[in-house]
């Protein structure tokens, strides 16, 4: 069975431990069957037996011995149980640990396409609730199954040994129990799949509400959000109830059958005693151990319940577990070369979900050059730069770095040679220092400060209560847009990459600060090819070349002056942006 195979596979490293635990479970549950006999022995010998009185005076040492034996036996049994349970816990925690880290790496290794189609809340559900179900399966379900089976088997063997016919009469109850259990399993399974889905929706709604809390407040949509949440909450609650109700539809039958062992024993056993088939003592032996049949049967329902839950969760987990990104980072770049920084787009086209985003783009950037890209919203600027570090692969054509197709380069090496400051600034809930040094956590503090200065971030960071040790929230909340951008810029520059890509990184920065940044970029102390996406002419003016994108095509290409002279898109933008401050294109051109 796939599920078992999967568990076994992931148990690697703890298989011995787990098997030991299973064996000890068998021993331990056998002991629970033997346990009552010492007590019985004491009672028989010293209390209810015929020569109890005589034994009491003559065999005191036996009594003391038996009592001590009972205590010792109890210590042994409970000690063993304690040890066994911890073995299960340890093995299941280790497995949880391994799977969790494996999944984490899987998630980290997915390409952008995957992230475009999977919601954070959904991934979080997999990493929390679903994983816990796996742990529960290993630590509890399998343990319970084994222990129930042992007790059941031991009781059956013992019963057969005493009397075959009565045992068969008792076992008559097993088939109906199994049938009911089977029917239950079949019916409850889709309910847990459903429940699982609703939990995921609840998680997603909550997560988005938290992430978007500013928008919620800005629109005073608290009530709407509560409504939306309540709907998911109700759905989840309903699904929980529904699954439990299905269980309770079958529970009475299973429970009645399980307790029915007592009735059969009383009736059939009683009749057997009456007609002399078995002795009274044998009847007592049966009744002393009848729980060995009924308890495991009672557990069947609970076990099936949990197994179905586990199946529903595992289905979700394997979605990530076996997810295979189209762009795979093998992480096996032994020596990471430093590139020169030549970038070439060779007839590149790119389609996303069947829509053409880029068409037939060709251009070359020489090492050390600065290229500016400008164009209308949605014209494909960000997509174009996303192709260089291979966030996506081209549909047609080639992207070459230092003359080699990026698809043939080691991904770690390629990305390690590129510094990107993305448009949507994502910072981590870490100190500012930790955020700037994200690419190289060992970076000394004065280096961090140096790059912060270059990005015109040092001044505001210094003014913060805890300076570079100030913790910024996720998405850098608590910082202004321009401040976030400058930290992201410092972070990208700090890698000292031969290729630096700035995706509209200074849009929220005031012009004065931007000028400082431009100066820094020109004077970087390492050689660096720069690709800068910008909307402001002030940002693009100094570039070696400017590309204008429109609808996924390059419509203009040239220097600032050349493009102004062309009186095309660029000229138009220039005029729009300089209206009113008396600066004339001609005066500059």
């Amino acid at each position: 069975m796939f599920q078992l195979k999967w568990l076994w596979h992931n148990l690697r490293g703890d298989r011995t431990r787990y098997i030991l635990a299973l064996c000890l479970s068998v021993v331990g549950s056998s002991l629970t069957i033997i346990n009552p006999y010492i007590g019985q022995r004491i009672v028989d010998t010293f209390i209810s037996g015929d020569d109890a009185l005589r034994n009491l005076t003559e065999e005191r040492s036996l009594l003391i011995g038996l009592c001590l034996g009972m205590i010792g036996f109890s210590l042994l049994r409970t000690g063993l149980a304690y040890f066994t349970t911890l073995l299960y816990e340890r093995a299941s925690q280790n497995m949880l640990y391994r799977v969790r880290i494996y999944l984490y790496n899987k998630i980290q290794g997915q390409d952008m396409h995957y992230y475009d189609h999977n919601r954070t809340g959904d991934l979080m559900t997999k990493m929390t609730g679903d994983l816990d179900m796996v742990r529960h399966t290993m630590a509890w379900i399998i343990k319970t199954i084994i222990e129930s089976l042992t007790v059941f088997a031991a009781a059956v063997v013992y019963f057969f040994y005493i009397d075959v016919a009565l045992t068969w009469w008792l076992l008559l109850l097993s088939p109906p129990i199994f049938i009911v259990a089977f029917l239950f399993a079949r019916r409850v399974r889709p309910m847990y799949t459903d429940l699982r889905e609703r939990l995921s929706q609840l998680n997603t709604t909550t997560q988005e509400n938290i992430a978007g809390n500013r928008v919620v407040k800005a629109f005073a949509r608290e009530e709407f959000e509560v409504q939306k949440f309540t709907e998911k909450n109700v759905n989840y609650s309903k699904a929980n109830k529904a699954a439990a109700m299905v269980w309770l539809d079958y529970f009475p039958y299973l429970e009645t059958f399980a307790q029915g062992f007592n009735v059969i024993l009383m009736l059939a056993g009683g009749l057997f005693v009456m007609n002399g088939r078995i002795t009274f003592g044998e009847f007592s032996a049966f009744s002393a151990l009848i729980w060995g049949l009924s308890n495991p049967m009672r557990n069947i329902g609970i076990i099936i319940n949990d197994i179905q839950r586990f199946f529903a969760s595992l289905t979700k987990i394997v979605e990530i577990y076996y997810a295979h990104p189209q762009i795979v980072n093998e992480h096996n770049a032994a020596v990471k070369r430093r590139y020169e920084g030549r970038i070439q787009f060779d007839n590149v086209s790119f389609k996303y979900d069947n829509a053409t985003v880029l068409e037939d783009i060709s251009f070359t950037v020489e090492p050390g050059e600065t290229i500016a890209i400008m164009g209308a919203t949605g014209s494909g600027k960000t997509t174009l730069i996303n192709l260089i570090p291979r966030f996506y692969d081209v549909t047609k054509g080639r992207v070459l770095v230092d003359g080699t197709d990026v698809r043939k380069l080691e991904l770690d090496e390629l990305r390690g040679n590129i510094g990107v400051a993305t448009q949507d600034v994502l910072l981590f809930s870490d100190t500012i220092d930790g955020n700037i040094a994200y690419g190289d956590p060992e970076m000394p503090e004065d280096e961090v400060e140096k790059f912060a200065r270059l990005a015109a971030a040092h001044d505001f960071i210094r003014k913060m209560p805890e300076g570079y040790n100030t913790i910024v929230g996720e998405r850098g909340v608590g910082l202004s847009g321009g401040q976030k951008q400058r930290i992201a810029l410092a972070r990208a520059m700090a890698v000292q990459p031969p290729i630096l890509i700035l995706d509209d990184t200074t849009s929220a920065v005031d012009l004065e600060t931007e000028e400082h940044i431009q100066k820094s970029l020109r004077e970087l102390d390492y050689s660096c090819t720069k690709i800068i996406i910008a909307q402001r002419v002030s940002t693009t003016a100094q570039a070696d070349r400017i590309l204008i994108l429109d609808n996924g095509r390059v419509i203009e290409e040239g220097t600032h002056q050349e493009l102004l002279a062309r009186r095309g898109y660029y000229y138009e933008v220039f005029m729009l942006q300089n209206e009113g401050i008396g600066r004339q294109a001609t005066a500059l051109g």
Partner: protein
Amino acid sequence: MARNKFDIDENLESPFDIKHFRRALVYIKKQKTPMIVAFVLSALSAGIALSAPLIMQHVVDVTIPAKEAWPLVGWSALMLATIVVSVILATIRSRIMTRVGQDIIFDIRTDLFKHLQELPFQYYDDRPQGKILIRVVNYVNSVSDVLSNGIINFILEILNLLFIGAFMFAVDAKLSLVILAGLPVFFAVMMLLKTRQRRAWQAVSNKSSNLNAYMQESISGIRVTQIFTREERNAGIFTRLATNYRREWMKTMYLNFLIPFSVDNLTTLVTTAIYFVGLLAMGPAEVTFGVILAMSSYAARFWQPILNLSNLYNSFINAVAYLERIFETLDEPVTVSDVPNARELPPIQGRITFDDVTFAYDPGHNVLEHLNIDVKAGESIALVGPTGAGKTTVVNLISRFYNVTGGRILIDGHDIAEAKLKSLRSQMGIMLQDSFIFSGTIMDNIRYGRLDATDEEVVAAAKIVCADEFIREFENGYMTEVNERGSKLSQGQRQLISFARTLLANPRILILDEATSSIDARTERLLQKGLNELLKGRTSFIIAHRLSTVKNCDRILYVADKGIAEAGSHDELMARRGRYYHLYTAQKMEA
């Protein structure tokens, strides 16, 4: 600034007490009636189930020795009947309790979520999102069973214990004391473990919170991680967090399973003590064999509920670790809320007055000082100035995202501190720097601005902001599914959608905070035309760095040095040749 990050535990100083349960009682009380019914059913079911051993005993003692076949059938039928009845009662109880348990956590979760809606930005700024999420979903789930079945079983077991205790004493008081002698030991063990166990569970909840916070952050920051090729290092951090979690979990388990271990052995000890005392110390003269036999079985029966209770106790102490987090969140103060007799703000005309406003995020660090601004209804105001000077703060104060530290802000002469928040914010359109997109269709995302807007109105708003064209280019047009992180939309497109959302709200006051920073100049120009039409008669505040956005505003305020450094129209400010002039002309534009 944030106080917490993924690897910092959130410490709770409050000592362990029953207070958390008393608070939980508020939720449990709502379910009083069904719980009492369930309790009665349980007691009945347990009572009926007790008759089975009695029947068995009678059959063994009387019916079988007498070889009465038909009475045996009769007794068997009776036993089956008691089983059926007690199972049916137990099933009904479970049905009731399933609902109760689900309803309790439903209520807690709803309250928690509602409270979160009222918490200020600061709360969200202060901690990783994953830590909030795990409380609302996972923690609340964890307490469901304890707060429903746990309580009932607790009472049942106590009753059970009292019953057996009473029977026990009725049979023999001295030997009963022997059985009770185990209790002090039991309590000593519990006392010894209690604090450690609580600490241990707290540590588990802390570590799982950290782990999840990092997980969530790794997902949202994946693009940055990949480009910086930090995967391995992040995996290292994650491994460390997972290791911490595993360690704390195992520590907790070591303690947890000590309890059944102790109780089990104590049961054996008191049972053997009965034999010792009864048979050896007292002897047949003082106590009959029958009594000893009965007492030895009572010993086991008396300690069974104690074992059950201690297992319940284990889950209670685990639940407390989650409950205290939940209640801590519920106790988080709401700093911006309606004052006791807040009034509805009448339809806004649009005059806004800052009257000697001072503001500080952290006491002692004023961001704005003695600010006085008077904006006429319908005026459009641009806020410019260096980043971090407080432009966003100014607009955040108008929407009362924060309370002013000193002074007042008036809208049409009404102090906004005394107006109902909802009546204030629902009349304002605020477009933030961060254009958040909810997962759902583009249509839904725009409609977020006005929930009852028709499709036509949504499209009309999209047309004004020049978003209609690109939206229609998608295969599914307005019904295209988008999500928070997805790259289906470019940043500029996100801004346009969020712009449309703001316009749809038909606000009396419009606030645009870097709303068009990622939008190209040409689109912006087109947008401006539609916008100018729309802005007529509405007050607006625009924060922007781009001159083209700023210069058409009626008045430009240059924010710097904790106040307004320059104010006037574009032409006036250019003529003044001050900081504004400098801002736009100082750049060297020659190639």
